[in-house]
């Protein structure tokens, strides 16, 4: 697979020479100052705290104590599951949006964006209403006599996955949609005229050309999943504590802010690690959606 599009997509220029600041650097300055003030400096505080309250042994605990390492491992697993599900469900949706007629594409896009723009809290509570023992699903199943007593749909892994996939799927869909739209119709038509059946056109041309979008969407979903707090807290069971929940527990319940800080740093490090690995394969700009899809552009 030396010719996979992921490998050959032109990487964003990584190294830049230092130049005299131009207009755009100056224009970006307020944003940079803001980021440093509200993100950079607090992060430094947290790192310092994780090393000094009481000592760097915090990190040893995170890794060694099964209580913490389990939640870390569970977080990665759930993030992975959410990513796979979002891509599996999101790809056909993105494909339908990219290839269907204008009207269907509009309806699908509107539905997606509407859910995207609705507050995360509202959507999570909505799932509570739907999945509760007295919720819509159980009411319906009980009413039709399919079941005799409510089935547990909430406070478990299932509910967490449903909620997180619902909230994160727009990222996957939009990234895949963008790369599908970037494929020139002529490229697929050429494949057809060269004897490829519709299925082969998809597997040999469309899918490989959309892989950068899949990768970008997947990485976004994965990284965002790692830090999810509200949804797993409201929909998950007591046994499904994720790392962000652990952080809160450490700080608020066990009053060990140093421990919480260490876990938070591990979480940030995890995210950075994913990004570093990802950017080795596809440009950072692509993940963040600032560069166009390569698609059929062959120049």
């Amino acid at each position: 697979m030396t010719s996979s599009p992921v490998v050959t997509a032109p990487a964003a220029p990584r190294r830049r020479r230092f130049e005299r600041p131009n207009f755009w650097t100056l224009a970006g300055l307020p944003g940079i100052v803001y980021l440093i003030a509200v993100f950079g400096i607090p992060l430094v505080f947290i790192v310092v705290r994780s090393l000094t309250d009481p000592s760097p042994a915090n990190y040893a605990a995170v890794v060694e104590d099964p209580l913490y390492s389990a939640s870390l491992w569970r977080t990665v697993q759930i993030a992975f599951l959410v990513t796979v599900l979002s891509l599996a469900i999101g790809y056909p949706l993105a494909y339908a949006m990219a290839r269907s007629g204008k009207r269907l594409a509009m309806v699908l896009g509107a539905a997606l964006l509407l859910s995207f723009w609705t507050s995360l809290l509202v959507r999570t509570f909505a799932w509570q209403v739907i999945l509760n023992n007295t919720g819509l699903v159980n009411q319906f199943l009980l009413g039709t006599g399919i079941i005799d007593e409510p089935i547990p749909l909430i406070r478990n892994l299932f509910a967490v996955l449903v909620g997180m996939v619902h909230i994160l799927i727009p990222y996957a869909v939009l990234a895949i949609y963008a790369s599908l739209r970037g494929i020139k119709p002529e490229v697929e038509q050429a494949a057809q005229s060269l004897g490829a059946s519709p299925w082969r056109v998809f597997t040999r041309v469309t899918l490989p050309l959309s892989l950068p979008g899949v990768a970008a969407g997947g990485i976004l979903v994965f990284v965002l999943s790692l830090g999810f707090y509200i949804t797993p807290a409201l929909l998950g069971g007591p046994g499904d504590i994720l790392i962000s929940q652990s952080v809160v527990l450490q700080v608020q319940q066990y009053l060990q802010p140093g421990m919480g800080a260490a876990m938070a740093v591990v979480l940030v490090a995890l995210v950075l690690l994913v990004f570093v690995i990802a950017t080795r394969f596809i440009g950072l700009g692509r993940i963040l959606g600032v560069t166009g899809a390569p698609g059929g552009e062959s120049r």
Partner: protein
């Protein structure tokens, strides 16, 4: 017919011209026969293909020529199968293919923007159709290399499409389209994005290749020069209607209408009345009288309103004194265009003639403001119906 003989455009094809009859003999085995019967395509109330009927013989090189928006691409896409006609039948070798899906039509298609697979290298691009048609693996490389050799790209196998120039990409696209030896090749402005020199070189190569393979080719262009250089026949389209389908020379010498005449390059046109006097035929306008031969007047009647067409190459210039008879004018501009010179001559009554002369001819030097005599042979005059 005679009008085209001194047209240098035609000369370029001679070197690789094989007698059409012989080509047809070879082509019968290889190229496909294509027939469109009253093919119609309608978008809303916009008729984009208006009952086009076209017969293309095996091994013929046919160009669809027409202004932008005349429906060339639409017609080609219907032949390829990307678009379904609103009505009408398309047959290949007598078989109705109107509802056969694209991937089963076995037609080679070359797109204007090349449409190479950006995620495959050159060799893999060319091997793709072989794979789709389940050619045994061991043979694929060899066949693909043969096709690349045919387009002179032997050493580019490992390049990605993004590492090729436009002309090279188009060659790969061509190799990919012919590697399965389709019997029909469709090209939609394959050279449109290339510069003039490369375009001319590629024209010859495509022509040579298609003749060697005996392919039936349908080429789309709005470059009339390209159409003349390459085609056995030209199908002239205007607003979705096929207005003329004929050999280039015939199109040149007997355009069916002023629209057709206009499309085939620069021309001097005079609208007037057809007059028959003392066994001679004339087109009489207010300021000029143009004589033509009886055969050119064939199919027209005395008194018809017609347009006389004289090609710029058919007019010769000589210096004149003011009292001389016939058409006299002043040189208003001299334009050098490659190996030829374009001369604009204005008559005293304000009509402008376009004249073309070759530079290497022993013709005398002209200068602006000079008084010249315009002359042409009656058998170089063709007439057609006004628009």
């Amino acid at each position: 017919m005679t009008a085209t003989q001194e047209n240098p455009m035609r000369a370029t094809t001679r070197t690789i011209d094989m007698p059409l009859a012989e080509r047809k003999e070879r082509g019968r085995a290889k190229g496909a026969a294509l027939r469109l019967e009253a093919v119609r395509k309608v978008y809303g109330d916009n008729i984009v293909a208006n009952d086009v009927t076209l017969d293309i013989e095996p091994g013929e090189f046919v160009t669809l020529l027409g202004a932008s928006g005349s429906g060339k691409t639409t017609l080609l896409r219907m032949i390829a199968g990307f678009l379904e006609p609103t009505a009408g039948v398309i047959t290949i070798d007598g078989k109705d293919v109107t509802s056969v899906p694209v991937h089963k039509r076995k037609i080679g298609v070359v797109f204007q923007n090349y449409a190479l697979f950006p995620h495959m290298n050159v060799l893999k691009n060319v091997m793709f159709p072989l794979e789709m048609h389940k050619v045994p693996k061991v043979k694929r490389k060899e066949l693909a290399r043969d096709a690349l050799a045919a387009v002179k790209l032997e050493n580019f196998e490992d390049r990605m499409p993004s590492q090729l120039s436009g002309g090279q990409q188009q060659r790969v696209a061509l190799a990919r389209a012919i590697v399965m030896k389709p019997r029909l090749l469709l090209m939609d402005e394959p050279l449109g994005a290339l510069d003039r020199r490369l375009r001319e070189a590629m024209q010859l190569e495509i022509l040579k290749l298609s003749r060697e393979l005996g392919l039936t080719v349908i080429n789309v262009t709005h470059d009339q020069e390209e159409a003349f250089t390459m085609s056995d026949k030209i199908a002239l389209l205007a607003d979705g209607t096929l207005i003329q389908y004929d050999e280039p020379a015939a199109l040149y010498s007997a355009p069916v209408s002023e629209v057709a005449a206009e499309f085939l390059g620069e021309s001097n046109r005079f609208e007037g009345q057809l007059v028959h006097e003392q066994q001679r035929w004339f087109v009489r306008a207010d300021d000029i009288e143009v004589e033509l031969t009886a055969s050119a007047a064939d199919g027209f009647a005395e008194g018809d309103r017609v347009v006389a067409v004289i090609r710029p190459w058919s007019i010769s210039l000589s210096s004149a004194d003011s009292d001389e008879q016939g058409s006299v004018g002043t040189v208003s501009a001299l334009i050098y265009a490659g190996e030829s010179q374009k001369v604009l001559v204005e008559t005293p009554l304000g009509r402008e003639f376009i004249v073309r002369r070759s530079l290497d001819s022993a013709d005398e030097q002209l200068h602006e403001g000079q008084l010249v005599q315009l002359s042409w042979r009656p058998d170089h005059v063709v007439i057609t119906r006004p628009r």
